[in-house]
Homo-oligomer: 383 residues x 2
């Protein structure tokens, strides 16, 4: 796997990162991208949190695939998150494989890649590393933190753990805990990776990687990212470059070749062990359980943060009901929150797509956050 | 794989079975079970059609697992399908692995197991073998043919292909064609099998079987058999014999160990190549496409057959909308049909469970079928 040029900082060299699982990690590399310029008063910083298989190349282009960044649609000069105005930061999460410390990194104690000796991490651990990165970049407080899917889970942990460091928070297509079905799909993916003999208990670096297992994991996950309607609209029972079925096991149907393509291209840019660790972090997410089952109690220190939650009707991975749980808890905690359920047929991946209603909502939310943040800072200066 | 004692007949010895895919198969073994006694006038015969991984042991016990038959709840002396009154037949489908001819059978031309040289089959091919079995058993016409899931697909092909040989037909939790999402989940399962190096292009008989791949396939499929609600009710985020998560990759959550168990026990009783062939047969099912997209035209010769279709609200594999398509087509074709959508939280597997509303519906349907069948036969005798 080649990784393009990216910014990187080594953190937690003096004091280790204390992980939720009890282990301590030192040092921790963080690979990140920034776009735009930090204003003199530091009031224009926005942190973007990426999803399971995302990375820091949010505005792109991606060094492995050559494709535009995964949210290039939203972020750039003159775009919704205008990099002529804002300073945008996006870092590769702890445990991933695009330059931040993860299972493919070298364990300084052994000089070998960690493999599955890497400690199991949580979403909150990822957020702790992001907070340390902001320290290093001289950003005390964020105008906004925003993310979809696992990115939204990080935003929620910002609200629980560093509420004083964020002025506003946007959560898209996400959840405050993984359900049994969420865990089930991830477990199937992990078992697919581990069933590949190349996985070799996680010690495959320098040898053939468990590409076939990871590919099956990705194919399974990909089905959950799309709605049944989206699959029907996109592919239906259409055949792949043929008039009739072949009565064989080739990819007769377009949906088959599409999934195979999703699987085979994914392995070029992702590390199988990182897939295990990040899915595990998501499965372990259960914010209410840390507060005796009362999610609202997680947000009592976040009353000064303006929140926005967006759900998509056809998202069956993190459906509206899970997003509404977050909204109800924020309401109960007295945190100002706006909520929209957007009608789409595209399933969970809607947050990555061009959907006008989402853009209108985010544009208004960001403009309002900017106004109130400026007003807050002026009144603080006047005190 | 040991197979218990079962009845077996060798068919298509003189004239081969002409398959939808164009190949001809000869001979064809059919393994089957019967319960009860065929009446002198042959008017009490009921054919049960099994689902993807089911088999002829419908009233059990299963010779490999030792468990009761998969529909033992419904079938037996004094039960809903009372074997003191009815003669019940259930045969292992073509392509399967419990005694009927399939990819693990010996190809007489080579003396070796077929492997993936076995011809790809269709649901209708399975039904053709069932019809030949009834010929051999001296059953001209069935009082009822009934099945759920892939069993229901076979019932639909009885309606399209042998409508004159059935008096009534019951379809549970099924569909007349596989959707893109249905195909997608099956394709992931097939890729999981094929990714296992033990699969060896289907030539693993006499060596280690692709158990890991087949296990992952079964785990994935199993998620689709249960509803999200069922998984939440059954497991939620409950932990497996521990107080806290272990921060590792063991099965911390009950849903994980449940799925692993489903996968690992499945491989003891099922052949991986059969899994490929039967899922392929289901994916190829598209009855409307054979009739210019008009499903009703498939049923025009079935106007004298009484039909019953049952859907379950929480079934997202073959949801109510797909079952209703069958009902609307039967209606449009002038075939008498009763339909119920039953409220359950158990998902697709509901048809295998004890659900009172289903039992009431089936009991009434069977009693009515028996009355009308007797009346028809009396009036025919009087002519």
């Amino acid at each position: 796997m080649t990784i393009g040029e990216t910014n990187s900082l080594t953190l937690f060299e003096d004091a280790p990162l204390e992980l939720d699982g009890g282990a301590a990690l030192s040092p921790v590399d963080v690979a990140y991208e920034t776009y735009g310029t930090l204003s003199a008063d530091g009031g224009n910083a926005i942190l973007i949190c990426h999803a399971l298989t995302g990375d820091q190349y949010v505005a792109g282009p991606h060094p492995v695939t050559g494709k535009p960044g995964w949210w290039a649609r939203l972020i750039g000069p003159g775009k919704l998150i205008d990099t002529d105005k804002y300073f945008v930061v996006c870092s590769n999460v702890l445990g991933s494989c695009m330059g931040s410390t993860g299972p493919s990194s070298t364990n300084v104690a052994t000089g070998e890649p960690w493999g599955i000796d890497f400690p199991v991490i949580t979403i909150r651990d990822m957020v702790r590393v992001q907070a340390a990165l902001l320290d290093a970049l001289g950003i005390e407080k964020l105008l906004m933190v925003i993310g979809g899917s696992m990115g939204g889970m990080q935003v929620l942990e910002w609200l629980t753990t560093f509420p004083g460091r964020i002025h506003s928070a946007a959560v898209l297509a996400s959840a405050a805990r993984h359900t049994a079905q969420n865990i089930a799909f991830h477990e199937v993916g992990r078992q697919a990776v581990m069933a590949d003999p190349n996985w070799n208990q996680g010690r495959y670096y320098g040898a053939a990687a468990p590409d076939k297992g990871l590919s099956v994991a990705r194919m399974t996950a990909h089905i959950t990212y799309l709605s049944e309607d989206a699959l029907t609209q996109k592919f239906g029972r259409n055949l792949q470059e043929r008039e009739e079925v072949t009565f064989g096991f080739d990819a007769d149907f377009q949906v088959e070749s599409y999934l195979r393509h999703q699987g085979s291209t994914f392995v070029d840019r992702f590390d199988a062990n990182s897939y295990l660790y990040i899915t595990r972090a998501m499965d372990y997410l259960d914010i209410p359980s840390r507060y005796g089952g009362r999610l609202a109690d997680a947000f009592t220190a976040a009353r000064s943060v303006r929140c926005c939650v967006i759900a998509f009707t056809s998202d069956w991975l993190y459906p509206t009901v899970e997003n509404k749980r977050i909204v109800h808890a924020l309401n109960a905690a007295g945190v100002p929150v706006s909520f929209a359920e957007i009608e789409t047929a595209h399933g969970h991946d809607s947050f990555l797509l061009e959907i006008e209603e989402m853009d209108v909502m985010l544009e208004g939310f960001l403009a309002s956050a900017e106004r109130t943040y400026a007003a807050n800072r002026t009144s603080e200066e006047g005190q």
